[in-house]
Amino acid sequence: MSIKDQLYPYVNIHSENSVIIYFAQDANPKILAHIDCIRQQIQTKLASHYIESIACYNNLTIFYNIQTISTKNVLKIIKRLLSEISDITTNINHKIIKIPVYYHQDVGLDLLSIAQQKNLSIEQIIDKHSTKLYQVYGVGFTPNFAYLGTLDAVLCTPRHTQPRASVPAGSVGIADCQTGIYPSNSPAGWQIIGQTPLDLSFKSDIKFQTGNEVKFYSIDREEFLTLGGIL
């Protein structure tokens, strides 16, 4: 069986206390909304057996309490639920989070090299990165790190082959056709094009959720410093 022949949605065992559901071959905002809708229904059905879930791109992982329910029963409940839902819900979570970014080589370590590679001006890169409305396709890897997509095709750039040992919190990066913000100082393989002065760590009031939308806007050096940015 190849990925192409697979019928969606389908459920697999994921870990000792989790199962994973794949909803489609490709991810898009509609699928995300559908996943969120099903997640809520599974949570309701599993009731106290439900522990938590992770939604990401085209898939959803459900963690459950193996002390109180068997894997067999969890699979049965989920399969039945999936067979009953036919319509793809389009009830998208329209919360838009706005993020100011200082796009400049002072903080965007790869801004110049990307501009050169793509034969674009820095202004064009800023314009292409900040015009689009991005979807949060997943939150994880590190606390409050949001996987955002999809970039304008021109901006898609592979990760560094050798990750940097550390980039400062707030660094805005690109990896293939995704973009994201490092919420804390972190080793980083993504191409860094700017930095936000906002605190996005787990202590921040801004908490990304799969399904949210994100809009970047360009700020200058002075605004960056006023908003608490450090150079």
């Binding site: 065992i13 992770i54 990401c56 994880g140 787990f202």
Partner: protein
């Protein structure tokens, strides 16, 4: 209100000494992982033998070079690795409850057997809680390892049982022998065939130098996925990821909540505890088990230690 007293001062922190308990659940969708004692077996036996509640916080001492001076008298136990543990330069027993006095110097020098020792004090350590757990996760910014001159506090308000127990010999693991990792292999993987899995099970592999609280990599390259292209998805403790070049990576307690490599199976919690006591070049083999058996063994273990709560 919790009462505490200063119980140790740190003379040498060691390579990596962090407070750990059972870890945190319920925050994975925010990117906050599980953490917790990487050797669940040694952690639980420590609290149990000392008569502590099974959720008490222990100090997980990795590799050694750690030295503490006692600031008061109390009872302690170290379980897990024998890091040439000594008190006032005299060899002291592992897996046994010990009374210590003010000014005693406890030292974990370097590994004799195993990699990680757990220090439990009566009532548990008193430390800061992050998202419902006192486990430290440095990568996630949830606390720090202990450092020189830190004062470590003991919780003296916990109700602890007066019962002291002896460790049954047969439950003290041998960390030197080749480790058999009990593993459930997915039966309908899109990335691996059943023949791939069969091959994988017949190979003896060894632990690479890339092993830490987040993950253990194995070598040599074992089995290549048919197709590595996939969207990122949730990660979990015990999951074996295979990189595009065929390197197996076993997810441990501090693993990121999301990962992007194909998975081949799941290692049991019991086996993960034993794996965490091993280091570079030690051998491992995989043994296929049913998911149900793995879950039942895990629950039996958990039940044994939680039944002791009054």
């Amino acid at each position: 209100m919790s009462l505490k007293q200063a119980i140790f001062e740190v003379i040498k922190p060691g390579f990596l000494s962090t407070f750990q308990d059972n870890g945190r659940i319920g925050y994975a969708s925010k990117g906050i992982g599980r953490s917790g004692a990487i050797d669940d077996h040694a952690y639980h036996w420590g609290n149990y033998l000392l008569g502590n509640h099974p959720t008490c916080v222990s100090l997980e001492i990795s590799i050694g070079q750690c030295e503490l001076i006692a600031l008061a008298s109390t009872q302690i136990i170290t379980t897990g690795a024998d890091l040439n543990f000594s008190i006032n330069d005299k060899i002291a027993p592992v897996w046994s409850v010990i009374s210590i006095n003010k000014s005693d110097i406890l030292r974990w020098h370097k590994p004799k057997t195993g990699m990680r020792a757990y220090l439990c004090v009566l009532g548990g350590f008193m430390t800061k809680t992050y998202f419902g757990s006192r486990s430290i996760n440095i990568r996630e910014g949830l606390g720090e390892a202990i450092v020189v001159a830190n004062t470590l506090s003991q919780n003296i308000s916990n109700n602890f049982s007066k019962i002291k127990r002896f460790m049954p010999r047969q439950f003290i693991p041998d960390y030197q022998k080749t480790l058999t990792l009990e593993t459930y292999f997915y039966f309908n993987s899109l990335h691996f065939t059943q023949d791939n899995i069969k091959d994988f099970c017949t190979q003896i592999q060894s632990i690479s130098s890339k092993n830490d609280r987040s993950a253990y990599q194995l070598e040599p390259q074992a089995v290549k996925p048919k197709n590595s292209k996939m969207y990122s998805e949730a990660n979990a403790l015990g999951v074996i990821q295979i990189t595009p070049n065929g390197t197996p990576i076993i997810m441990m307690n501090d693993c990121p909540t999301i990962g992007g490599y194909p998975k081949i199976g799941i290692v049991s919690k019991q086996s993960l505890s034993q794996l965490s006591q091993r280091s570079t070049k030690q051998s491992v083999v995989f043994k296929r088990v049913e998911l149900k058996k793995m879950q039942e063994d895990g629950l039996k273990f958990k039940d044994f230690f939680t039944q002791t709560i009054d």
